[in-house]
Structures are given as C-alpha cells and as structure tokens.
Symmetry: C2
Subunit: 206 residues, 2 copies
C-alpha cells in the first residue's frame, strides 16, 4: 500500500524556505541554505537518504504555487513520476521529459487518491508547506522525513503552521546524522478525537 510521505528540510527555527518565494527565488530569499546538504555530496548518509527519496517516490502531489515557482528550475517534473497539482484554476495536462503534471481541483483527499492510484505501490510524495499542512489537517499524512539544518533563519515560510490546536503525536522511527543535517523520520499518530495532552501523559505512565 502506498504511504503519503513528506520529505523536507527545515531550519531549527521551523522554516522550509526563506521569505518572498518567487520564480526568481523558488526557495525564498536565503532559502537555498536549507538545501546545501543535497548539493554538498560529501556525505554517504546524505546521498543514501536522497536516493531513498527518489527510489520510493511513485507519484507526487504539490500545490499550484510550488508548481509555478518550481517548474522553471526543474525543467521537468521534480521526480520522474506522475505529478498532481492541486489548484483552483485548472489547466490541461502537461507532459514533460520524464513525467507529467495533471492539474486537479477539489481537496487534498481527492488528489492523494488519484496519486495513489498512479503510484504503482510506491509512496506518494508531498511537496510544499501548504499541501503538507492540508494533508496533516485531513489526517492523511503518514510519514515525515525531515532534515533539520543547523541554522536559525529568522524569517521565511513556516513548515508546521495552521495545524489547529490538537496535539498530533509522532513516533520517531529513524535518526541519522551527517555533517550537514540531522535526518529525523517520524510516523504520524493521529489522536482520532482524544483530547490533547492528557492521554499521552497517561499512555506514558502505564
């Protein structure tokens, strides 16, 4: 069965891009700092994690904004798989070199369903903070593969924002370190209606 996975790098103060994201600066001003680990290429751990992401991705769901600022950089799909762009303004399918962009209206649930059908049993990878937040709120995100970059950026696009006020518990499933980042992998454990705070304290004491 496909999992829905968010692969993302975050500064220690919670930003996944700098401010003023644009076609000129798809990672926002100063945001390329976050992706240094991908391009440094001197750490086996980083290389293995990067390859895992590519190998496990069967389809991608991204937001329209991520598409708009990203497509110029990629000059292709971000991964060589079917990609689904959630948008309010639909347009016709774009066939690129190694994959395609299909534009969908509606909610994240519908987009994930279509992506899963196209993923051939591999994972559905999410791209963009907005899509990640929508999937978390809809309790449809299964795993978070997070790189923590050792920097305080001070401003930018927050990764975990607008999540509501219920605690969402995570189970850490992996910790890997490289000279550039700390790789943390989590499984998301939705409370499914239990009140925040109290239950987790009880669970821990038993």
């Amino acid at each position: 069965m496909s999992k829905v996975v968010l692969h993302v790098t975050m500064s220690l103060d919670g930003f996944m891009a700098g401010p003023d994201i644009s076609v000129e600066h798809p990672m926002g001003r100063g945001g390329l700092r976050l992706h240094e680990w991908i391009f440094a290429s001197d750490s086996d751990v980083d290389t293995v994690v990067s390859r895992e992401v590519s190998a496990s991705t069967g389809a991608v769901v991204l937001g329209r904004r991520t598409f708009d600022v990203g497509v110029e950089v990629w000059q292709d799909t971000p991964f060589p798989v079917p990609c689904f762009v959630l948008t309010h303004a639909p347009r016709s399918r774009l066939v690129m070199k190694s994959g395609s962009f299909t534009f969908l209206t509606g909610d994240v649930r519908g987009a994930l369903r279509q992506a899963e059908a196209a993923a051939g049993g591999k994972d559905v990878t999410l791209m963009g903070a907005d899509i990640a937040q929508q999937a978390l709120r809809a309790e449809l995100l299964d795993e978070i593969n997070l790189q923590i970059a050792p920097v305080l950026m001070g401003e930018g696009r927050r990764l975990f924002d607008h999540l509501g006020t219920e605690h969402i518990e995570l189970e850490r499933t992996r910790v890997l370190t490289s000279p550039h980042v700390t790789h943390l992998r989590f499984r998301v454990r939705y409370a499914r209606g239990t009140p925040s705070g109290e239950t987790s304290l009880q669970g821990l004491g038993s």
Copy 2:
C-alpha cells in the same frame, strides 16, 4: 570560563510551552507534554542529560514572567544556585531554600555579566523563551541543548521567534536519542556582520 547555555524542550513545530501560560499552567495549556521525558525516568540517556544540566549550572538568568509562573512550582530556586531575574519592576532579593533570586533591571548583557561572576566557573543557564531570544539577538548565547519532543502542538509559545532576519549558523556538537525525545546540542556561530545565505554556501564549497 562560563558558557551561556539554553537547555530547553521544543515540540517539532517549535513550541517550548503551550498557550495561555499562567501560574495555574506554568507550561501553558497542554505544555506539560514537553516535559514528559524528564518525568518518565525510564531512559538512561534522559537521566544523564538531566543530571548534566544540574551539574553544569552555576547560575541562572530568567525573565520576570518565568519567575512569576515558576516560583510557585519550584517552591525554591529552579537550581540550587544564584538566580538572576531580569525585570522592569525591581524588588528586593529573595533568599530561598537552596539559592536566591536577585532582581535586576537593565539589559540581558548586564544580567549575564552578574550571573557569570556568581557562577563559580560553571555555566550560566537561561530560562524562558524571551531571555533566550534576547541573548541570541545580543550574540551572547553560546550553546543550545535542545530536546525535540515528537509532537506537533499547533499552538503555544514559540522558542525561536523575533530573532531578526540574519541567519544564525549553528554547529551541531551532539545527538543523543531516547524513546521520548531527540537530544541535539549546538554551538552558536554568530556571523558577526557577514550577509546571510551567501557566505555559508561559499564556506561549504571550499
């Protein structure tokens, strides 16, 4: 020489306490979730880290708000050392069971200087997000001993906030894992005037 160290637990989405911090809820609503690791007492790693904090602390600097909501809980000083409370409304020194609270007006630099003089060569420990942010902005925080709790809290008191727009680079000096949290320790590397983004990219390539 004393180091200035922040020991703090943060949710993965960046909160060091829940919302509505008060005497009744010193960690904010739901914020006790963050300190479960301290009270679980079933992890040697957690125990070692907790003891290190106590053993290395020679003095404490805290904000008035942290004092106001904390003193009822502690019924003493938070550590058995001289504690310095930065406040706009000075009051006379309070001698507690195992230490004392001295109330200081002025800026964080002056408070840290007094704390360092009283720390007997041990570290100065900071308590509270506001004091931590002031020390970071003044480039006076040397190390961050961070516990990342595997939870998205959604709301509360942000740890790293109001830091300005310059990147502050960190050097990760330790990673320890327990079943409850991920312990990350960082040394702060202030740029001292270099522009954000560009320099770090160059440094990495060289």
